[in-house]
């Protein structure tokens, strides 16, 4: 087990090196703190996952040396980049140190406990052993993408391959250890939380930021779903990071954030097919909000939508070229009569989604308190973050409701996915809440 864990860590070193190059290429300085390292790591996972999928489609097998070469190339691109990285501004006062130490200490202790839990975790949920990790095993055992496997053996073959690619790379470095593989999911959790600190620490007081990190980590559904080795938490993580970068681009005109938005949006789309819906909702709202101040920036934002398809489109072309059939399609068998007869699904689906988002045994008070924070930020005249968080979440809930309305799958079966699909909008709200609260606190200090 220990030797396998070291192999897995070697794969993570490749992701980190690749990500350090990518963030440098996008204009951030070299990572100089744990939080910056976490952001570089997440960028590396996204970039290697996306490019790895393209390499598979091109016929490569993602062997160890191919992964090392890809990571080395991305690192080298950062080394030769002339883009100067500016340091981030530290926030002002309002940092009660004792409380901050307590919150950060609790977060780190809980993360440590989860690390042990994930280290011993077996693959026990159906879709993890039958779909996600099975695809990764096929990449390793059949030496690349095998059309026969995806035609006849893969469960829901149309899901894009970012997660199986990452798992296949882990397997290449450590062997087929499906227990230690869960450490990859722990690293995504830890990397995500660190990335939030890296992306928001110049705008949000430390205690507010660490409290938000703690709330996300302690939410029972977050660690439970991450431990299942399903793609929903990785998808939600990439999407939430894309959302935070979208806010930075919207409110601060941060060009580095635009690049990271493109990267994380592409990773979201390449992780699971509903990622496309989430990214479309986010970018649509973002374009409308940006266009109000600058049509040129709105065009750049729309361009991100094209970049976001970089992993998904080649995958769909490969599927079509190899006669891989979809498990299901939203538009299958649709006509006016069918839609009319399924109208009663809409309130049921909407209620299932809202109930899951509000369930305190899953997501604590994240959503109601995010709603309160949106109202406070609006009152404090912070319209960017409040509009982005509210409109994107509503658009996602509407889109998911529409999918459940249109689905050709048995409705009761399909709507069972509600607890998992709400992870993305919930994490988006949780990630933007500290921005909203900080705006209200700032306003409070100004007026006091």
């Amino acid at each position: 087990m220990i030797a396998d864990a070291l192999g897995l860590l070697a794969a993570q070193a490749c992701f980190l090196a690749a990500g350090a190059g990518v963030v440098r290429l996008l204009g951030r300085p070299w990572p100089s703190s744990l939080a910056d390292g976490a952001l570089a790591y997440m960028a590396g996972v996204a970039a290697v996952g996306l490019l790895g999928q393209l390499l598979l489609i091109a016929g490569l097998a993602l062997t160890v040396w191919q992964v090392v070469a890809l990571s080395g190339l991305l690192l080298a691109a950062g080394l030769v980049s002339s883009r100067a990285g500016g340091g981030s501004r530290e926030p002002g006062s309002w940092r009660p140190s004792g409380a901050l130490v307590l919150v950060a200490g609790l977060v780190l202790a809980f993360l440590l406990l989860l690390a042990v839990d994930f280290f011993f975790q077996p693959l026990w949920k159906w879709d993890s052993w039958a779909m996600w990790t099975a695809k990764a095993r096929s990449i390793v055992l059949l030496d690349g993408l095998d059309a026969g496997y995806f035609q006849r053996a893969a469960l829901v073959p149309e899901h894009p391959l970012l997660l199986p690619v990452i798992e296949a790379i882990d397997f290449r470095f450590m062997g087929l250890n499906e227990q230690v593989l869960h450490v990859q999911f722990w690293l995504l959790v830890a990397g995500f939380l660190g990335s939030l600190v890296a992306l928001l620490r110049d705008r949000v007081p430390p205690l507010v930021l660490w409290a938000a990190v703690a709330v996300i980590l302690f939410a029972p559904a977050f660690s439970y779903q991450a431990a299942t080795a399903y793609a929903d938490v990785p998808l939600a993580i990439f999407f939430a990071l894309a959302g935070v970068c979208a806010w930075r681009w919207l409110a601060l005109s941060d060009r580095t954030a635009l690049g990271l938005l493109a990267l994380f949006a592409a990773a979201t789309c390449a992780t699971k097919f509903e990622g496309l819906v989430f990214v479309a909702a986010l970018l649509l709202v973002l374009v409308v909000l940006v266009a109000a101040s600058s049509p040129r920036r709105a065009a750049l934002t729309a361009g991100v939508g094209l970049v976001a398809l970089v992993g998904l489109v080649p995958w769909r072309i490969w599927m079509a070229a190899n006669d891989v059939e979809q498990y299901h399609s939203v538009t299958e068998g649709l006509d006016a009569g069918t839609l009319w007869s399924r109208l009663e699904r809409i309130p049921t689906a909407l209620w299932a989604l809202v109930r899951e988002m509000l369930d305190p045994t899953s997501w604590l008070l994240i959503v109601p308190l995010a709603a309160a924070a949106i109202a406070l930020a609006y009152a404090a005249r912070e319209r960017h973050a409040s509009a982005l968080a509210l409109a994107t979440s509503l658009a996602i809930v509407a889109a998911l409701t529409a999918i459940y309305w249109l689905t050709a799958l048995p409705f009761a079966f399909h709507v069972e996915s509600a607890p998992r699909v709400v992870a993305a909008p919930v994490l988006l709200l949780a990630s933007l809440t500290p921005v909203l609260v900080a705006a209200a606190l700032d306003r409070g200090r100004e007026t006091a």
Binding site: D117, P122, R152, Q179, L376, L441, T447
Partner: protein
């Protein structure tokens, strides 16, 4: 239940203590105070579940750390009432790269009947399933004698019970 109650008490205590300490920073401002309340409520409600969550995770570690490597690798099969030994036997008999056709008797209920082909698809890699017995090198069935398919067979054998008290699983080599 005790841990949840303890967590709730802890959350309330921290909320009160921090509210008293931090509230004076926003003496005349209801907006700032409301934002502070949101932060504290969010954190303290999360804090309330930590003792219970930590205990649950510790219990989980206690169970999973006692699994052998084999038990851990076959958890998916075991949880769906499949005997992992059957798939070990199939792996030994079917050479890597060969194809197989898999079928389950309709009277075997779900989830085991659904899990059998799904577990095979992953556990038997790099052997690939095909959709008809005519195209297969091997036939793998559960509860269906392979002679029932209209293909010449070079040998049929029982590979075990995929689940106790249910019919046997068979392996047959397709002739030619």
């Amino acid at each position: 239940m005790l841990l949840l109650a303890f967590g709730a008490l802890l959350g309330v205590a921290v909320f009160v203590a921090w509210w008293r300490r931090l509230r004076p920073r926003f003496p005349d401002d209801r907006l700032g105070a409301a934002a502070l309340a949101v932060v504290l409520l969010a954190f303290c409600s999360a804090l309330a579940v930590v003792p219970y969550s930590a205990w649950r995770i510790a219990e989980d570690i206690d169970h999973t750390s006692s699994l052998t490597r084999t038990e851990a690798e076959t958890t998916g099969a075991s949880l769906n009432s499949l005997s992992p030994g059957v798939f070990d036997e199939l792996r030994r008999a079917i050479p890597p790269g060969d194809s197989y056709f898999v079928d389950v008797a309709p009277d075997i209920g779900s989830p085991p009947s659904d899990a059998f082909p799904e577990w095979s698809a992953s556990a038997l890699l790099p052997r690939l399933p095909v959709r008809s017995p005519e195209r297969a090198d091997w036939i793998v069935t559960w509860g269906i004698p392979p002679e029932r398919y209209d293909v010449p067979l070079a040998g049929v054998r029982v590979v075990g019970h995929a689940r106790e008290r249910l019919p046997e699983a068979y392996l047959a080599r397709v002739a030619g």
